[in-house]
């Protein structure tokens, strides 16, 4: 089938009221709902997080109950990620935007009976923050978690069905591609991208327009565009969420990039660990092909483009562009020196553009709304928004998108809802294994590329892990080194051997065997790897070490000099002790100690033999009643 602008308009007209009735903040929702064939729409988050929490059973229960109540004018829509993963499974009823959190099949039945049929919102099932004191129910867009967010890359996630190309088209989908193909030259697209100030969201922040310009300038009959969806940072999942929630946005953006550089074929390199994303992308590609939005002579122009999916196989280093291309070529994912740059000699030796998922997710919007619109968002250094995967010791774990320049404090306190259990914020880690930590004193740092690198961290792909006083910074550095050491491809010597030696030195510290000389070696090796490794993985592998030493040197010294772990995380440095004043001699701890390290007479204070103790912590868990056991 050939796609035309008329056909695009037709589809949009048909589906727009349905989609517009799902307005996060409630604006126009009621009004649009009147044009929709559906009285109510029940959106269920079908992201990986909510799938894990059992949204499938909730959908089944909703559909069964709707059928039982003959609600033909109500649909259930499985969407991509709403972002508020801690509250999954998430169910939202439009047009009112009632936000049900941690839904269960039983709750689902009640929602249909009481809310959909009976017209009474089940307030006890709603996310508590949405219920006002006066009983009024807020749409979810007005809660704290969403209020400070600005959704460009995630605009359709949790709003449209990723299974329906029509819903994407209803949100002006594929209109940017039409505009580009029918009214813009390749150079027009490049200058728009340049003017927008969009920089790569994969970590390094290279201007997208410049990347495209290089690839366009490279001579070659065959060129490729690739999408990096090999989200390797162990704590980031924005790329997955975008693919799960809005796969067509990526397809459209890749087609635009392909037109711009003169490519006919694209590859999306996705982690195999993301089965839901792969499946939805596959469906989306097929739909786009059927509608003539992929394939030959798109929109009747002489531009042809098609897309294939290639699965990663579990290698963090394949997030590096040359390693990713080696992997698509069916080889070991080993990076190679640049130059030649991929824009000149990339996949299969021809000019190639590779962008990250989140980067692509911005492209169609920039084309439609203009470079000025985009560049008006953000800071001088960095335009637009950034999606962060908020995790660790934070109340609102989930996916957030904020304008560049938002401070860490706003993200943690306002959006993230602060630290749980009354603990205090110690540091945030951005950039995953390649990044660094931002200590509490920099909590007011506005987030953009320049500010983060100034304080020794980096934007990275968007993992944002919050740490509290119980987090040991030496242990965290060791955790990241374990990761990079395991994920190093092993090609270049400073990374292959350096990560291992660095890890061994950190282990010495957490084992209580560290000496001052080791700290010097750690610092020297870290610096060495930054300057001398072949690729970014190695060059940045020591960043978590460097930044934790920079901001938490006292913690390192405590491990080395005092042989203690202030956060009580490092097992071998922790001592379990019994407070004789509190111990009543109940013997519970002694009986349960796996190594019989606890001695004492009945009804008299017990003592832990430190030489025998294996620091398993069983005693601590057992002494809940008297709280006599403590660690230091």
């Amino acid at each position: 089938m050939k796609m035309t602008i008329e056909r695009l308009n037709e589809i949009k007209a048909q589906y727009e009221p349905i989609v517009k009735a799902r307005n996060l903040v409630g604006e126009y929702a009621e009004e649009m709902a009147q044009h929709s064939q559906y009285r109510k729409q029940i959106l269920v988050c079908g992201g990986t997080g909510c799938t894990s929490s059992g949204c499938g059973k909730v959908v089944e229960a909703l559909e069964a109950e709707l059928k039982a109540n003959n609600c033909d004018d109500v649909i259930v829509v499985k969407t991509g990620c709403f972002g508020y993963c801690a509250l999954g499974p998430i169910v939202i009823v439009y047009p009112e935007g009632a936000f049900y959190s941690q839904a269960t099949p039983e709750g689902a039945a009640r929602i249909v009976k009481e809310h959909i049929v009976g017209g009474n919102v089940c307030k006890d099932l709603l996310f508590p923050e949405t219920v006002q004191e006066n009983g009024e129910v807020l749409p979810l867009g007005k809660i704290r978690f969403y209020k400070k967010q600005m959704r460009i890359a995630l605009r359709n996630c949790g709003v449209i069905s990723p299974f329906k190309i029509e819903e994407y088209i209803a949100t002006d989908g594929y209109r940017a591609l039409h505009k580009v193909l029918t009214s813009m030259s390749q150079d027009d697209v490049i200058s728009t991208m340049l003017a927008s100030g969009l920089r790569g969201r994969g970590g390094a922040g290279f201007p997208t327009g410049r990347k495209w310009a290089f690839a366009k300038a490279s001579v070659g009959d065959v060129k490729y565009v690739c999408c990096n969806a090999d989200e390797g940072d162990p704590g980031a999942f924005m790329d997955r969420s975008i693919l799960e929630g809005d796969p067509h946005a990526i397809i459209e953006a890749m087609a635009i990039a392909a037109y711009t550089i003169g490519a006919k074929q694209g590859y999306v390199y996705v982690r195999a660990e993301y089965p839901i994303a792969v499946e939805r992308l596959r469906i989306a590609i097929n739909q786009a092909r059927e509608m003539g939005l992929l394939g030959k002579n798109i929109f009747g122009t002489d531009f042809s483009f098609d897309l294939d999916i290639r699965l990663g196989a579990g290698a963090f280093v394949c997030g590096e562009e040359t390693a990713l291309m080696a992997s698509i070529e069916g080889k070991r994912g080993e990076p190679r020196p640049r130059p030649p740059f991929p824009a000149v000699k990339g996949l299969f030796g021809v000019p190639t553009v590779l962008n990250n998922v989140e980067t692509y997710a911005n492209v169609a919007q920039i084309i439609l709304k203009g470079a000025d619109w985009f560049s008006s968002i953000g800071t001088e250094d960095t335009k637009g928004t950034k999606v962060f995967a908020l995790g660790g010791k934070i109340n609102n774990v989930g996916l957030v998108e904020v304008p560049m320049g938002t401070t860490l404090r706003e993200i943690i306190e306002d959006i993230g809802g602060g630290i749980p259990n009354g603990k205090t914020f110690k540091a945030a880690q951005t950039g995953g294994p390649s990044g660094g930590c931002i200590p509490a004193e920099f909590i007011d740092t506005p987030i953009d590329f320049a500010s983060l690198s100034k304080i020794g961290s980096m934007m990275g792909s968007g993992g944002l892990i919050v740490m509290d006083e119980d987090t040991c910074m030496v242990d965290i550095a060791k955790f990241y080194l374990e990761f990079t050491c395991e994920e190093s491809c092993g090609k270049c010597s400073p990374c292959r051997i350096g990560t291992k030696r660095l890890l061994q030195l950190l282990e010495k510290l957490t084992d209580g065997k560290g000496e001052m000389e080791d700290l010097e070696k750690i610092e020297e090796l870290s610096k060495h790897m930054q300057s001398s490794c072949l690729c970014a993985l190695g060059q940045t592998a020591s960043n978590p070490v460097v930044s934790t030493i920079k901001f938490f040197r006292d913690e390192y010294l405590a491990h080395i000099v005092d042989k203690t772990c202030p956060a009580h995380k490092c097992k071998k440095l922790t001592r379990y002790l019994i407070d004789p004043d509190k111990c009543v001699g109940c013997t519970l701890c002694a009986r349960n100690c796996p190594v019989k390290a606890i001695k004492g007479e009945v009804k008299k204070p017990h003592v832990i033999d430190q030489d025998k103790c294996i620091k398993c912590g069983v005693c601590l868990g057992n002494c809940k009643k008297f709280k006599a056991i403590y660690t230091e």
Partner: protein, 167 residues
């Protein structure tokens, strides 16, 4: 020297026929080795010598290359997996919330290490990076079934429930 694999190969003719189809599909495709390995592992559950040999001959690449790729990526396995694959997420969020202790508890319970399979081929353990359920940290999965917010004790109970299952 043997082919280095002590576990007996038990491939069926049906599996071989399927593998041949995979080879035919990727023979002419540039970069076909990765997806071919992925599909081969889908057929056999792992990538033993016999399978890699067929791939090398079929795709006309050296076995060194096949083996090099198969041992580079964490997803590929040279040993069979257990009937129940236990996966403990060691992503940052889960780690911060004590996933390492969950893994240790499971390893102790089954008497095998991560990456290994019990002799009766019933369980294998693997550590994985972020299954994307950070809100439920720490997370473990058994054959894809997700168990969130698990303590080491709960994890052991989950294993016990699978142990109790008849074959």
């Amino acid at each position: 020297m043997s082919n280095g694999n002590s576990i007996e190969f038990m491939g069926t003719p049906a599996q071989e026929a399927e593998l041949k189809k995979v080879i035919a599909k990727y023979k002419e495709q540039p970069g076909g080795l990765m997806p071919a390995l992925q599909e081969a592992q889908g057929i056999y559950g792992y990538l033993p010598y016999e399978v890699q040999k067929m791939l090398a001959e079929g795709l006309d690449v050296s076995m060194s290359e096949v083996y090099g790729v198969a041992t580079f990526y964490a997803q590929f396995s040279l040993v069979p997996k257990g009937k129940y694959i236990i996966s403990v997420c060691l992503g940052t969020a889960c780690y911060v919330k004590g996933a390492d202790r969950v893994l240790t508890a499971i390893e102790e319970k089954l008497g095998i290490k991560s990456g290994e399979c019990t002799p009766d081929r019933k369980f294998s353990i693997e550590a994985c990076r972020c299954v994307g359920a950070c809100g439920l940290a720490p997370v473990m999965t058994v054959n894809g079934e997700v168990y969130g917010k698990v303590t080491p004790e709960q994890a052991v109970k989950v294993i016990e429930s699978y142990m109790a299952k008849e074959d």
